[in-house]
Amino acid sequence: MRIRANTAIGGILIALLGGTALAAVAWTPFDPLRVNLRARLQPPSAQHWLGTDEFGRDVLSRIMAGASTSVLVAVATVVLAVTVGVLIGSVSGYWRGWADRLIMAVNDALLAFPGILLALGVMIVIGANSIGIVLALALAYMPSVARVVRGTVLSLREKEYIEASRVLGNSELYSLLRHVLPNAVAPVAVLATSMFGWVLLAESALSFLGLGVPPPAPTWGNMLAASRPYMENAAWLSIAPGLCIALTLLGINLLGDALRDRLDPRMAQR
């Protein structure tokens, strides 16, 4: 299959992101945490390519270091939410009966909370650290995944080819894994990619509302939130992390679409 332009652009963006995140572990131009009070709020220059922040820390170094933290937090959240969501959703949809009803009541209750505020509450309880953010955001997003997966499972359960699989003597688990779940890949992929972006942003919104990954450990989200008072007189502080978030999301979305097309069984039938 020929690689399309969209997929290529997405791949390049994500490769760049991954490369930066990895590189930052080994090397950044400056120490991203090093405060330099004599060089505060400096505009981009030959020395500081993206300028310095309100503590005189090098923005480029923080963007690089932030790539690691942000990506780690976002990936961990998405993986956790998708894993738990798929598990709960498929179990619920396949079993049906009272277990399904109970699980879905809890799930709907979680869904009914405004995500960002659920995360805010959970974070105050767990604490404003990386693990707290991952748990809080995953809990807020997991119910959507569970719901989508359950819907797919329910609608396919009685289809002829699943019945056929059963009649052929395949175990329930096998038919679930082989025939039902692949159909859930497309909607879950769409959800997961939008979740990825949502996590990057939610973390920023949490910082804006007063909580977030404890600085000075930089993430793009908390950099963006911290840049707000300086939006007019030090625009580089918000443009750099903002652009990084936007490009990452674009890359993830393009790749997500490609992934969906590749995995969608209806697509494969053609």
Binding site: I116, L224, L250
Partner: protein
């Protein structure tokens, strides 16, 4: 139809009960309490204990819960600890502000996003598609507090077209209220356009692959007609479900926008109350948003046949 409606309503009761319990527990798990916030850094233990007793916070949590539940059954959400006001009228007043913004913004966003998503899907993987997907992604990757402030600075400060701070309810002056609503609505709509375009595109791609579209094309139906008659209505149905989800969530979630534009909405009330540990208000708000979410999704489900010709035909 009415029987179905009733059944649906009954099934939401356990959900709401779970919400109520979860809210009550979550609120009390949060470290810190309203008395400490009230007394600040000069909290005399005896004084704190007295205040707790007056607020009924010295009783065991399960007892507090039962008291709260009992009053809830009578439609009484209690009184705010911060300012002593009854919670329910407070919530209803704030809800009006949020509801107007969210409804208008989502309506505008849907009107832009559904056609945009359709076009992107129709020309999938072309330059047009990339531009639409790119713009949508850019829009949804801008934090609302950032975009909001940008618009505020541009239209409020530089161009002086719109008021910067303050709020007038529609009941006092329609024109005045509309002026204050423009920026928050635009901000929210821009971000939701990003979200919904992607959803609409995904839904349209699904529909474009269906056989009857191929059929229609094969029969020589003009392409615009295929899109308008066959694809758009079908692609709108799943998007409609998502609009329901979005609507329900936004009501509590526009706290950020309400903060930026100093609007006395429900989201801001909730965030302020969380920080002040105003238990009755937090409980009331969360329960209320959950209820709204459930009701909105019920309405969405009931309207679903209107938008999905496949279901309507069946």
């Amino acid at each position: 139809m009415i029987g179905y409606l009733l059944r649906r309503l009954v099934t939401t009761i356990p959900t709401l009960l779970i919400v109520a319990i979860a809210v009550f527990l979550l609120v009390r798990l949060i470290p810190g309490d309203p008395v400490q916030v009230m007394l600040g850094d000069a909290a005399d233990p005896a004084q704190a204990a007295l205040l707790k007793q007056q607020l009924g916070l010295d009783r065991p949590v399960p007892i507090q819960f039962l008291y709260w539940l009992e009053r809830l059954a009578h439609g009484d959400l209690g009184h705010s600890i911060t300012n002593g006001l009854p919670v329910l009228p407070l919530i209803l007043e704030r809800f009006q502000v949020s509801a107007v913004i969210v409804l208008i913004a989502v309506a505008i966003a849907a009107c832009i996003a559904v056609p945009a998503g359709l076009i992107a899907a129709w020309r999938q993987n072309s330059a047009v598609d990339l531009i639409i997907v790119g713009s949508a992604t850019l829009l949804l990757s801008i934090p609302s507090f950032w975009l909001g402030l940008l618009l505020l600075l541009l239209f409020g400060l530089k161009l002086k077209w719109l008021p910067v701070v303050g709020y007038v309810p529609f009941s006092e002056s329609f024109a005045g209220a509309a002026l204050f609503m423009v920026l928050p609505v635009v901000t929210l709509a821009m971000i939701e356009v990003g979200v919904l375009t992607r959803m609409a595109r995904a839904a349209s791609i699904e529909v474009l692959r269906l056989e009857y579209v191929t059929h229609a094309r094969a029969k020589g139906v003009p392409e615009w007609r295929v899109l308008a008659r066959h694809v758009l209505p079908n692609a709108f149905a799943p998007t409609w479900t998502l609009i329901g989800l979005v609507l329900g969530h936004l009501l509590g979630g526009i706290a950020v926008i309400e903060t930026v534009f100093t609007l006395p909405g429900l989201g801001r009330l909730l965030v302020d109350s969380i920080f002040a540990r105003d238990y009755p208000v937090v409980q009331g708000c969360l329960l209320f948003t959950a209820l709204i979410y459930v009701v909105v999704n019920l309405i969405v489900d009931l309207c679903y046949p209107l938008f999905d010709p496949r279901v309507a035909a069946a």
